[in-house]
């Protein structure tokens, strides 16, 4: 790991690993806080399904699609700079999308627009309640995405590798409020479209329920790895690098390294 960290010039690295096959747990710098980037969407997903499990939110409830949000700092309105990952949601501007579809777009395409719409629906406090109820203290969600005033005020969403791993284990165990809620979250996570992180270090038949997160200085991936021949494992890899450095393949390399260790020397 240290060689990979050095090779990719990472400023910081956090890893949390739990293997359901061997029950081995291993971590590196796993309680260090990182900017969450889009891994915070796992917490939003948990908040949505908490409300669903409590019958306080229907997954087919319509949500008005609009690109206008309110800063947590001074309640000033702001708009997101929309990218390709928002295209599906943006196509419904002025119309409504069901909560379920927004949750799907938030995770599988990492849509910031879907994320902020869902944060508006359930509220930040609900997300914090959800994390507290699950006993997770390694994820801090204070705001939605691209709230620049909040960012400038130092109000950021943060995660630790252990925090994300704990949430993923609870989902994998079917203990996120109900087996049904957990299964639904897992189903969405398995459809992740961005595969340059953990999946890139695995055989092509591996299925990974995961969420990526990257901004100019961090590149993360947090997932549950399902392989044909063994029980799954949970792996969270958080990386931080200097702003002038390009995003590297560090996450994929670490994922590959761990897979090879588990599979033995014969693994490709």
């Amino acid at each position: 790991m240290l060689k990979i960290r050095e090779r990719h010039g990472l400023d910081d690295l956090g890893i949390s690993f739990h293997d359901y096959e061997t029950t081995i747990q291993w971590s590196y710098n796993a309680d260090s806080w990182f900017h969450a980037a889009s891994t915070m969407k796992l917490a939003v997903l948990a908040g949505v399904f908490r409300q669903w499990a409590r019958d306080e939110l229907a997954l087919d409830a319509p949500v008005h699609v609009r690109n206008r949000f309110t800063s947590i700092v001074d309640e000033q309105p702001f708009m997101l700079e929309l990218g390709g990952s928002d295209s599906e949601v943006l196509g419904n501007l002025g119309r409504a999308m069901p909560v379920r579809d927004l949750a799907y777009q938030m995770i599988t395409r990492s849509s910031n627009l879907a994320t902020n719409l869902l944060v508006d629906v359930i509220g930040i406090e609900t997300i914090q309640h959800a994390l507290a109820e699950l006993g997770i203290d390694g994820i801090r969600v204070l705001r939605g995405v691209e709230d620049q005033l909040a960012f400038d005020a130092g109000l950021n969403n943060e995660v630790t590798a252990n925090g994300l791993a704990r949430l993923l284990r609870i989902i994998a165990d079917g203990r996120a409020w109900s087996p049904e809620a957990s299964a639904e979250m897992l189903r969405i996570l398995l459809d992740q479209q961005y595969k340059s992180g953990i999946p890139a270090g695995l055989p092509s038949d591996a299925r990974v329920a995961h969420k990526t997160g990257n901004i100019s200085t961090v590149d993360h991936d947090a997932g549950i790895v399902h392989l044909e021949t063994r029980r799954p494992y949970v792996l969270v890899i958080l990386t931080r690098f200097a702003p002038d450095k390009a995003r590297s393949a560090a996450v994929a390399d670490i994922s590959r390294d761990i897979f090879k260790t588990l599979a033995g020397p014969s693994a490709g």
Partner: protein, 242 residues
């Protein structure tokens, strides 16, 4: 079906839950602390199918003016639903706006009538009177820049001085991602209505239209029914073209 097929109700005669949501005759303050009296007379829309069929103008059906999302109180989304009678005036002006514009006008979800129980109803807004429309797209064009929004606003003002268009801007009370048009706090009292609350409804039938069309409206299967067809993905968008 035309609006004549709609029953007019005095919201004071509705059940407790609906009255608490619609708050007929109550005074509410707008963002400038001005006080306005909420409407009392509503059209009753028996089913979603009826809402789709009722054509208020050549290009606007009633369902286009009552689309809401989960911010609306569940009871206010359940059929039979209620919309202030002034909605027909809104449709009239929107039709003139559409004719002037020469393109289809899409009223957004939450962009037409919103009950006072809607979560966006923090202060009085003409949306609670059924006299406001939020438009995010004209035809296939999304209104997201100053030029397109101000062009629509200009056309709306040309249509009638009665139409107020929210100015373009980023601050509260301005719009930078849609066109907002409204007729103010307009109330329509149907001519067959007597406004005397002392009259007993059962002795003084006031629903002349209802009496004529009762058979048409009370179709089997009406009742609790949430509309679903405006949810993207699962359903189709109903355009405002006839």
């Amino acid at each position: 079906m035309s609006e004549e097929g709609l029953k007019v109700v005095d919201a004071f005669d509705l059940d407790d839950e609906l009255r608490s949501l619609l708050r007929p005759g109550e005074m509410v303050r707008d963002a400038h602390e001005r006080r306005h009296r909420l409407p009392r007379y509503f059209y009753e829309i028996p089913t979603y199918e009826a809402a789709k069929q009722i054509r208020l103008t050549p290009n606007f059906h009633l369902n286009e003016l009552i689309r809401v999302d989960l911010k609306e109180a569940a009871r206010a989304q359940t059929y039979p639903r209620y919309v202030p009678c002034a909605v027909r005036a809104l449709a009239f002006y929107l039709q003139r706006f559409r004719d002037q514009l020469g393109g289809s006008v899409h009223i957004a979800v939450n962009g037409g009538y919103r009950s006072p129980g809607h979560k966006l109803a923090v202060a009085a807004t003409p949306h609670m009177w059924g006299t406001a429309a939020d438009i995010y797209r004209i035809g296939n064009t999304i209104l997201k820049d100053q030029e397109s929004i101000e062009k629509c606003n200009r056309i709306a003002r040309e249509v009638s001085d009665d139409f107020w268009a929210m100015p373009y801007g980023h601050e509260i009370g301005r719009a930078d991602d849609h066109v907002h048009l409204d007729l103010g706090y307009l109330v329509i009292i149907p001519r067959e209505i007597s406004e005397d609350r002392m009259e007993l409804p059962q002795l003084q039938p006031r629903f002349a239209i209802e009496e004529r069309r009762r058979g048409d409206r009370r179709v089997s299967g009406e009742g609790a029914e949430l509309e679903t067809d405006e949810i993207a993905g699962s359903v189709r968008e109903v355009p405002d073209e006839a």
